[in-house]
């Protein structure tokens, strides 16, 4: 099982009394705004949860793992996520209750 946009909207409907359409729109809008900020080259800091940042990668020689043939990898920008202290702690606390 995984948490999805549909479940998140359902929860907003239950918790906040928004109607189903409003709840669905807000969930969509939330991820759109985060995505648009990243596309514009901004970082996104969600205190208590974590930060989305961008990393610019230099071009480097790469290899097709199947054929072994060399292919150049172009410069590119990637999105990274660093969980905040609070989220990391909550996840660790959960893991501590699990049998390893």
């Amino acid at each position: 099982m995984a948490l999805t946009k549909a479940e998140m909207a359902e929860c907003l409907f239950d918790e906040l009394g928004l109607n189903k359409r409003e709840a669905k729109e807000l969930v969509e809008l939330f991820f759109e705004e985060v995505r648009d900020a990243l596309v514009k080259g901004n970082h996104v800091k969600l205190s208590g949860f974590g930060n989305f940042a961008l990393r610019d990668k230099s071009p480097r020689p790469g290899r097709n793992p199947k054929t072994g043939k060399e292919i150049p990898i172009c410069a590119r920008r990637v999105v990274t996520f660093r969980p905040g202290q609070k989220l990391k702690q909550r996840v660790e606390d959960y893991a501590g209750t699990q049998q390893q």
Partner: protein, 107 residues
């Protein structure tokens, strides 16, 4: 990119932007909704459940095995237990849009 060129969108600004676009909703409702979304996501991960947002990406837990660490004050060796850490994998659409914007700006 130099650090000075980077702007950060903070949670409060994100809420304001969303509230402007959903002007039929009270600001307070948008604020509560964003807080609820982040709490749902945190809760999901801290219960060991993945998050899958199509077009945006997925969050899951990665296991870090136990390792020998050191107390930085005393230099004593300590055994650090294995742990889980949150991990985000950007979705195809996010990955492509971010990179396309970067490449077209550089060109």
């Amino acid at each position: 990119m130099p650090d000075s060129a980077i702007n950060s969108l903070m949670k409060s600004e994100l809420i304001e932007m969303m509230a402007r676009k959903q002007s039929h909703l009270a600001y307070k409702d948008v604020e509560l909704a964003v807080k609820s979304l982040l709490e749902q996501m945190s809760h999901s991960l801290s219960s060991g459940e993945r998050i899958e947002i199509r077009g945006f990406g997925s969050f899951s837990l990665h296991y870090r095995p136990p390792r020998a660490g050191r107390n930085p004050k005393t230099g004593d060796s300590v055994e650090l237990p294995g742990k889980y850490v949150p991990h985000f994998k950007p979705g195809k659409e996010l990955r492509e849009k971010v990179n396309e914007a970067f490449l077209s700006q550089g060109a």
